[in-house]
């Protein structure tokens, strides 16, 4: 089983602050990390490999310092990594990923996170399937891989849909699908010997352009009403309930 995982490097949004004056996110100096949901994709790939054998290749489009984050995924259990240094929107990312996957040639399953925690567009998986002309299962919260087919349960919020597909297939996974493992010390030590290849867009024969223009990026300010009820008297509790009903918070 040849498995490819697409993993993105993102800023650690939990550490992100908003400039109170400009309302712009302060991105300078923020740590970068592997997109959380892409780690779920890597974990799922490892589970498939443990059951069916094969190999796992991780591909990342991003800054060249992504190399150190890729090592984490190699330590988890991926066999090799490909880094394509580039910056751009999901169009750029997907075109480069598709070109790299075509260069790899043979593959059975391509796994992606359902979306990245920075932009959360959820475009890469479906676009990739389109560019490669292969089926897709998005938002999979369970995945069963058999010899010649995959079965995924899609989490659509209010309902779950089960889809069966032939291979090759693109599967985007949700956070619920598994719990990504931590690498052991021996796996960390072993990751130093696993290859990280660097491919450029030029060498892949594609020079895609961004199609999305970001006009502004601002934090949403939340204004609180700050209504204080001094004590927990019955009267105040009634007032509180009335207020909550009026605001539509409960009801």
């Amino acid at each position: 089983m040849k498995i490819i995982v697409c993993a993105k490097q993102v800023v650690d949004a939990s550490e992100m602050k908003i400039d109170p004056n400009t309302k712009k996110p302060i991105l300078a100096g923020l740590e970068r990390k592997v997109n959380d949901i892409d780690k779920n994709a890597v974990e799922e790939a490892i589970k498939i490999k443990e059951k069916h054998g094969g190999s796992i290749t991780v591909i990342t489009v991003g800054e060249s310092d992504a190399r150190e984050r890729l090592k984490e995924l190699l330590a988890m259990g991926a066999d090799e990594a490909i880094l394509i240094p580039a910056d751009g929107d999901y169009n750029v990312i997907t075109e480069l990923l598709a070109a790299a996957i075509k260069k790899i040639g043979e593959y059975d399953i391509i796994l992606c996170g359902e979306a990245s925690t920075d932009m959360f567009s959820g475009q890469v998986g479906p676009r990739l399937a389109g560019l490669l002309g292969i089926p897709q299962i998005t938002y999979a919260h369970t995945l069963t891989v058999e010899k010649d087919k995959v079965i995924g349960e899609r989490n659509l919020g209010d309902k779950s849909v089960t889809i069966e597909s032939t291979m090759p297939v693109v599967v985007t996974v949700t956070k619920e699908i598994n719990e990504p493992r931590l690498p052991s010390l021996m796996q960390i030590l072993g990751s130093a010997n696993k290859p990280i290849h660097e491919w450029s867009g030029e060498s892949l024969g594609v020079t895609p352009k961004s199609m999305v223009e970001t006009i502004s990026l601002e934090g949403v300010s939340m204004k609180r009403k700050n209504i204080v009820f001094e004590d927990a008297s019955d009267e105040n509790i009634e007032k509180l309930v009335d207020n909550l009903l009026k605001e539509g918070v409960v009801g």
Partner: protein, 380 residues
Amino acid sequence: MQLELNEQQKMIQKMVREFAEKEIAPVASELDKKAKYPTEILKKMAKLGLLGAIIPQEYGGAGLDTISYTIIIEEISKKCASTGVITSVHNSLVSWPIMKYGNEEQKKKYLPILARGEKIGAFAGTEPNAGSDLGAMQTTAELKGDKYIINGNKTFITSGSKAGVLIVFAVTDKSLGSKGISAFIVENTMKGFKVGDTFEKMGINANHVTELIFEDMEVPKENLLGKEGEGFKIALSALDGGRIGIAAQAVGIAQAALEESIEYSKQRQQFGRPIAKFQAIQWMLADMATRIEAARQLVYKAAYAKDHKQGRYSKEAAMAKLFASETAMDAVIKAVQIHGGYGYTKEYTVERLFRDAKITEIYEGTSEVQRLVIANSLLK
């Protein structure tokens, strides 16, 4: 000269930090309150290779450098100081002496099971009348046929009731003083091995510290570690490494105190603003952070010396342990002060940190013994 962790050390730090956050932090307070030994955590640590961190790969360990090892102890101790000291003793005071002084058979027999965490290690040196003055120990070992017969009591033994492999020190020739002490690898299943009382302590409550009683304990001759009479040397050299582990534990406790204090002072509002806006609080945070960083660098320096210096590194280890443990005490006092009345309650982590920090100034050589070691190396 490189003053930054290398890529591999950073990966190890990240992994252990995530592990401690996910697996230790949620249960640390409960383990402390119920004085429950962290058996489940240790099993998970073993799976990640953390119990065999310094054991060579040929014996099933990871064979890490000592700086990487201190990173592990710091990160574990940040969330649970008890688990930190259990890990430190297991690696520094049990695995290391076997690595250094054990013969090939002993290494093959004991290192893999310690690396896999199948048995936890303990170090039995201290006795009721032999603490800082370890040479005054009274436990005896007498060779009878193919067995040593060991009699005596040990006290304050970390993991005493849980350990499967112990390094036990006993007098084989009283006339030679400290040169008449020998070291033995003892299994808790050996005839005559008995666990005494478990101490109720001020802190590190999840670490079960006990008395051990040896009544005609039968230890096979081949379990003598090193040669007869080398016990005191083995104990002191193991304690050099152990002190680096305790120093790393102290840095972990201090770092936790700092992080809790930063978080709290940003949230806690008094006089209409977060207390972090007050200079009195800011200065305490600044002093804590500065001392912690200095302590960490001393720990790394001692760890580096252990791996690279020819001969003993007693002074470096003593300096790291002295400064880091006193930094931990200083940090937890400030942390409770910053938390005010809440910091004095068991609802807040700093209360546990306060109790846990004190022991780092006492065990594996009190601060007074560390000063003695440092002074001796200056004046020799």
